[in-house]
């Protein structure tokens, strides 16, 4: 125990005095998570996967513009601006702002839209009541309206993606349909009594109309009677933060391989390892102390990354990281990943012939494991061949477990399997490096 604790303390002292090394160890994943999260957050915005900013141009000033504005304001996924530099935008200034990337899209209600809609709705309502002998089999009016069709205009940022355009156009079509129904029901309501009077007097005569008393009026409720409910299978909305914080935290933790393997190479070359092996304290216990010290640093790295996700990222735009209902499982997986990363670093340091070999091989192997493990591109987006080998990456074991905990909020099979694999890797790498160091101790 003496050898374990004294080695643990010694390693922590050495690391605490290598401030530049520690800074790199922490700064690198922090920079990566901040940059990648913000870049991906922007990509999600232009693909419509997060809140999109829009500019609304009202040249109509009527009922149609008011209704469309209300419908857009109700959308959680759209943040609508109504002014540019404190003034109502014109079609030109709005187009310029969207083209400049200030907004993802703009919606304009041009002058006369409400008037056109009213006129056309009136025509349709009028033709509906004069259709006693002219209606089709389904009772629909057959007259072609005389008024032009009213149109809402939408224009997009050239950088916006197809998925965003499709969803915006779909939302606007839905809004247009709602407005159309609103105008039609109003017109129908307004024309109902006069239309009914005309039909009765035409079909039954003026006497019948006079004897009919007060005719019924037409009221149309606006209450929605059907809708779509999203039954979320994830506990939080998927976001660049929920994906990137655990991914890049894992990447940073595994980068502990570089300083740890370098430290072991130095101990071998400078003779400290010979002193250690020549002492009565079991070498495997000393290695355990080293493993514990570096694992503590890796775990601390993870904690810093999580705190940045929770407190710093929201200040920069994206949503904050949500921990979910299984914080203990997250801690256990982070500990297992810290141990696995450190044990791998010990193995690389034990086998490498030089500091350069250890640092280059250590760094390259971690980057490759991260790439195939789904840190840079989610494994579901990989070609089948690469996806099948991604299961061999320790970063994939940790990442799959983290994604289930951070995104689905549940302790799934991935969590158990990932944790078990990471611990198995720790035991295997530690034993291999112990055997290697003792066999090559001279």
């Amino acid at each position: 125990m003496n050898g374990f604790l004294s080695t643990l303390a010694k390693e922590l002292k050495i690391m605490s005095r290598d401030r530049a090394g520690l800074a790199v160890l922490f700064a690198m994943p922090i920079c990566l998570v901040l940059i990648v999260t913000m870049v991906q957050d922007n990509v999600m915005k232009i693909t419509g996967a997060t809140v999109a900013r829009a500019i609304f141009v009202d040249q109509d000033g009527g009922e149609a513009a008011r209704l469309l504005r209300e419908l857009l304001d109700e959308q959680d996924s759209i943040e609508t601006a109504h002014e540019l530099e404190g003034k109502p935008p014109t079609l030109e200034t709005a187009r310029e702002a969207v083209a400049a990337g200030e907004f993802l899209f703009g919606v304009a209600v041009v002058e006369g839209t409400s008037e056109k809609l009213s006129r056309r709705a009136d025509e349709l309502a009028g033709s509906a009541f004069s259709a006693g002998s002219q209606g089709g089999a389904d009772g629909a009016a057959q007259d072609t309206p005389q008024a032009d069709m009213a149109e809402f205009v939408v224009f997009f940022d050239p950088a916006s993606q197809g998925a965003l355009r499709t969803s915006v156009i779909s939302a606007l079509n839905q809004a247009a349909l709602g407005i159309e129904i609103e105008f039609k029901t109003k017109a129908l309501s307004a024309n109902f009594q006069s239309g009914l009077s005309a039909i009765i007097s035409e079909q039954l005569g003026e006497e019948a109309l006079a004897g009919a008393g007060e005719l019924p009026s037409f009221h149309w409720s606006k209450d929605k009677i059907a809708g779509v409910r999203t039954d979320e299978l994830v506990f939080v909305k998927p976001s660049s933060v929920q994906q990137n914080v655990p991914s890049w935290a894992l990447f940073g933790m595994f980068f502990i391989v570089v300083p740890l393997s370098g430290a072991i190479v130095r101990e071998r070359h400078d003779g400290m390892l010979r002193r250690i092996i020549a002492a009565p304290a079991p070498t495997v216990v000393v290695l355990g102390g080293k493993l514990a010290a570096y694992s503590m640093v890796a775990f601390f790295q993870f904690c810093v990354m999580v705190l940045i996700g929770i407190f710093i990222l929201p200040l920069l735009g994206p949503d904050g990281l949500e921990i979910g209902p299984s914080p203990l499982a997250i801690v256990l997986i982070a500990l297992a990943a810290s141990l696995a990363a450190s044990s791998y670093g010990m193995l690389v340091g034990s086998v490498a012939k030089s500091y350069e070999q250890a640092s280059v091989f250590g760094a390259v192997s971690v980057v490759m494991a991260a790439a195939i493990g789904g840190v840079m591109i989610p494994s579901y987006a990989m070609p089948p061949g690469i996806r099948s080998i991604s299961h061999f990456s320790p970063l994939n074991w940790g990442l799959e477990a983290f994604l289930d905990l951070f995104m689905r909020g549940s302790v799934t099979e991935n969590v158990y399997v990932g944790g078990a694999l990471l611990i198995s890797m720790t035991i295997l790498c530690t034993l291999l490096s112990w055997i290697w160091l003792v066999r090559n101790r001279g």
């Binding site: 004294s6 010694k10 002292k13 290598d18 003779g271 020549a278 001279g442």
Partner: protein, 252 residues
């Protein structure tokens, strides 16, 4: 009746060949070191001195022969024997970002010492090598001589009975060399057995009770300095004797 005194170290027919090497690094080596004795192990580069020291210090497993330390057979009591052996490697085997005190405390802890016992021994050894005043400075700020002295102190912190010093005076100034020589004298007077490898012949002549010269993995001659000089009357100095025994050809 024979008065039998057990040697601190008894090496019999030691052999070691590195993997993939075509010739043995050490072959048929026999050595004994008693308490209060300094054995100088001399030889050109590649003669097998460091390999012999590595096997005796348990860093390498003996492939042939037998080694006992205070009666403990290294093949069966390796860990017990380690507790009484002190090794000062050729390299400055210290953590540069730690202080001398921290280095000595760490290596002392690997011998099971802790608390005030460890602190006292560390302080004593630092004082022996003249580093008490700068004990709390980082080793990487030390001069070459100070590093050498710390390297030696780290080998002695657990008060070993058998001390293996692999070229402990390489690259040090005259003052540090003298201090190291004096310290070795004190250790000898305290009853420790010392194996001392060096390339400095004068140093070996003045310090060692006996000298063994190795070449090509074998011991080619052994005796007190005066015995060796008497056996080779044509040689005016130990260096001449060394050259006459090992030849003038370069070894590395």
């Amino acid at each position: 009746m024979t008065d039998f005194v057990q040697p601190l170290l008894d090496v019999t027919d030691l052999g070691y060949t590195y993997p993939k090497a075509t010739a043995p690094a050490v072959e048929g080596l026999n050595l004994t070191v008693s308490g209060g004795e300094v054995l100088g192990l001399l030889g050109p580069n590649g003669a097998g001195k460091t390999t012999a020291v590595s096997v005796i210090s348990t860093l390498l497993p003996p492939q042939r022969g037998k080694i006992t330390v205070i009666g403990m057979d290294l093949s069966t009591s390796q860990n017990k024997a380690r507790a009484v052996i002190g090794l000062a490697p050729q390299e400055i085997a210290l953590y540069g970002s730690l202080t001398a005190r921290e280095n000595l405390s760490y290596f002392g802890s690997l011998y099971g010492m802790k608390g005030s016992e460890l602190a006292d021994r560390v302080e004593r050894r630092l004082s022996h090598v003249g580093l008490s005043e700068r004990a709390d400075e980082r080793v990487d700020t030390y001069s070459g001589g100070m590093k050498r002295r710390t390297n030696l102190a780290a080998a002695l912190v657990h008060d070993p009975r058998l001390i293996l010093l692999d070229e402990p005076t390489v690259g040090v100034d005259a003052q540090s060399r003298r201090l190291i020589m004096e310290l070795i004298g004190e250790l000898r007077a305290g009853g420790a057995g010392i194996i001392y490898t060096t390339h400095y012949m004068e140093e070996a002549h003045s310090l060692c009770d006996r000298i063994a010269v190795m070449d090509d993995g074998r011991k080619i001659v052994e005796g007190t300095p005066s015995e060796l000089m008497a056996a080779h009357p044509g040689c005016a100095s130990l260096e001449e004797l060394f050259i006459s025994l090992t030849g003038q050809g370069l070894r590395d």
